[in-house]
């Protein structure tokens, strides 16, 4: 440790020959820090300050309001359905893309990215056009008394669409960088496909999976645009947390709106913490390779 520290110090000294003058470094760092403070920390702080403006009791009361509780419940249900679906899809897609080559591979990668490039509102509209009353499946669904648009299934479908790149996007580069050698070694040692996955592949990507899941979950809970289009804003029935925040805000109950919003802000902080740990662990798995590549 001491050796490393002294080496670092030495490098720092030697490095001054090639680095910028002090005032440039200070200026650049303070610009970056100032920007973060102004655009990230200040609003985040404001959310909590506003939420607690009328005191702790008012804060709790706002959260206990039946419509809000229903919104929280719906959000949790949506995330609980979306995340496993996208986890499964993400692992399968990443496995296929990273470990095999097949025609149409780059097309598949592009398609996985599609939800990132399409405005969430458009994603929502697509579902309205398919499942809505005027949509192509609408009459058939109505005849069979199945409600998708302006009901929970629509919200879940729209959220799945918007969040499906997260796990796959996280795993593809990770699995590609790890290569196929360990899996092939497992096969030559007699392991079957599932044994290979659970005993060799999974341990190497578990932190990547966690990272993808946490991002996917944050987005699933926070999604506004797509859900807004398909939800129909029925109070106490089809409102998720972000929609509830909007409604409260539009009704000028600022404290309540910020109280609910603080839940999402907390989620963001937790996400950030888990993400940091996961990234550190991923870096560790990549830095302790079974190979010297």
């Amino acid at each position: 440790m001491n050796v490393a520290a002294s080496l670092n110090r030495k490098n720092g000294k030697n490095g001054s020959n090639v680095s910028e003058p002090v005032w440039v470094r200070v200026l650049l760092t303070s610009v970056a820090l100032g920007f973060i403070a102004l655009f990230l920390l200040l609003p985040l702080g404001a959310v909590f300050v506003q939420a607690l403006e009328k005191g702790w009791d008012a804060y709790l009361a706002a959260l206990k309001e039946p419509d809000t509780l229903s919104a929280i419940r719906l959000t949790v249900i949506t995330a609980a359905l979306c995340v496993p679906v996208n986890l499964l899809f993400g692992i399968i897609a990443a496995w296929g893309i990273a470990k095999f080559s097949f025609p149409g591979k780059s097309l598949l990668i592009t398609l996985i990215d599609l939800p990132f490039s399409v405005s969430p509102v458009v994603s929502g509209l697509i579902y309205v056009l398919i499942f809505g009353l005027q949509g192509c499946l609408g009459p058939w669904l109505q005849a069979h008394d199945i409600k998708i648009i302006f009901a929970i299934p629509g919200i879940v479908l729209a959220t799945i669409f918007v969040t499906f790149p997260f796990v796959a996007r996280e795993l593809i580069p990770l699995m590609e960088s790890q290569g196929r050698d360990e899996e092939e070694a497992a096969l030559t040692l007699g392991a079957g496909g599932l044994q290979t996955f659970f005993r060799v592949t999974f341990p190497n990507i578990k932190w990547g999976i966690l990272y993808g899941v946490i991002l996917c979950n944050a987005r699933a809970m926070g999604e506004f645009g797509a859900v807004s289009v398909v939800s129909g804003h029925v109070r106490g029935a089809t409102n998720t947390i972000p929609l509830q925040v909007e409604i409260l805000y539009n009704e000028y109950s600022y404290a309540a709106a910020f109280a609910v919003a603080s839940l999402l802000a907390l989620l963001a902080l937790v996400t950030l913490a888990v993400k940091t740990v996961a990234e550190w662990k991923i870096h560790q798995t990549l830095a302790t390779p079974g190979s010297e590549r």
Partner: protein, 355 residues
């Protein structure tokens, strides 16, 4: 177990990795697939292992068709160039892996697995490192663990892909001698891929020289080295000097030399190439007959136990001569000096590579 490769062809897109390759490896032999990168040697090894499927042709194990056998059923031990150790498992768990994934009915007990792993650890002389992770091992140790892991399932065939390629020169030398001794002990049919001719010559019972997806020559190390069948093999095994000339009715003329080459008795003024290994040339100050070439010393380099002399011939072409250190010390060559170079052995090939 014997391996027979019959007419294997493999293309990757428009690149032909293997072109109608046939090869037999008798049971218990240690065979080297030797060739430059892109010669198809690794593809061939992976096809034997079942990690790659050939476009056409057959793989037979003990005379039985095995082309479509699953990797897991082939009972091959495969050692990867970059070891491919399971990075999240200890050395012990790595070696035990092949035993612990066996179906319950035939899986050894925990105690038996333990015995087996420690026997292997003893074999690779790493008993005290059982609890280490691969990242905590040196390259040579990792490669030995990879070998022990492959041997744990008692494979019928051991396949090694450039097993020493990523190691430094000294460890590589030690490990390949160790592999040779190991093979003499356990006699499992083994095929290893290498681009290092010295490694192949030293370790293998038999060498298969590959080039551009085809087998150029196969034989014992001395056969391949002393009687190269093609110019490629001659060139690939060791340092070579090239002379251009012609053959006419059993006589070859090149660079001012005339040699008898009875194998070309029917040739009529055909263009030919003469190959001479750089250590098959003597340097003399004076000459008595016509078997030597006049030359000028361009530079003299000391390469470990050898002294490499670069000569310019009268026709302007350069040749390289490797002299033993004591010979060079006796000659004391100086740059610019006129000398005579006498090839001891010239191998003549005509341009269509027929002998």
């Amino acid at each position: 177990m014997s391996i027979d490769i019959v007419g294997i062809t493999k293309n990757f897109g428009s690149f032909t990795a293997l072109d109608q390759v046939s090869l037999s490896v008798p049971s218990g032999e240690l065979v080297a697939l030797l060739g430059p990168s892109g010669s198809g040697k690794t593809s061939l090894l992976r096809i034997i292992a079942g990690l790659e499927t050939p476009d056409s042709g057959h793989v037979l194990f003990n005379g039985e068709e095995a082309t479509n056998r699953q990797v897991q059923e082939r009972k091959v031990g495969f050692v990867f160039q970059h070891y491919a150790l399971f990075r999240h498992m200890t050395v012990y768990d790595n070696i035990a892996f092949g035993l612990t994934v066996k179906p319950k009915k035939i899986r050894p007990t925990k105690l038996d697995i333990r015995d087996k792993v420690f026997t292997l650890l003893k074999l690779i002389q790493l008993e005290q490192l059982a609890d280490r992770y691969p990242a905590q091992l040196s390259g040579g140790q990792r490669q030995r663990v990879a070998l022990a892991r492959a041997l744990a399932v008692e494979p019928q065939v051991l396949l090694l892909d450039e097993p020493f390629g990523a190691l430094d020169a000294k460890v590589r030398l030690e490990l390949r001698r160790w592999l040779r001794r190991l093979h003499d002990e356990i006699h499992v049919t083994s095929v290893f891929v290498t681009h290092d001719q010295e490694e192949a010559l030293e370790v293998a019972d038999r060498i298969v020289v590959m080039n551009q997806g085809r087998i150029e020559q196969q034989g014992t190390p001395s056969e391949v080295y002393d009687h190269p069948a093609t110019p490629f093999v001659f060139d690939f095994l060791g340092n070579v000097n090239l002379f251009q000339g012609r053959v006419h009715e059993g006589k070859a003329r090149m660079a001012g030399l005339e040699l008898a080459s009875p194998e070309f008795a029917t040739a009529h003024n055909a263009p030919a190439l003469g190959y001479v290994r750089s250590h098959d040339i003597e340097i003399e100050r004076e000459t008595l007959d016509l078997g030597a070439l006049e030359a000028e010393v361009r530079y003299v380099l000391s390469v470990g136990p050898l002294v490499r002399v670069n000569l310019a011939l009268v026709d302007g072409n350069g040749i390289e001569v490797d002299l033993a250190r004591d010979v060079a010390d006796r000659l004391r060559l100086s740059v610019g000096e006129k000398v005579f170079a006498r090839p001891r052995k010239i191998r003549v090939f005509t341009e269509d590579y027929q002998i």
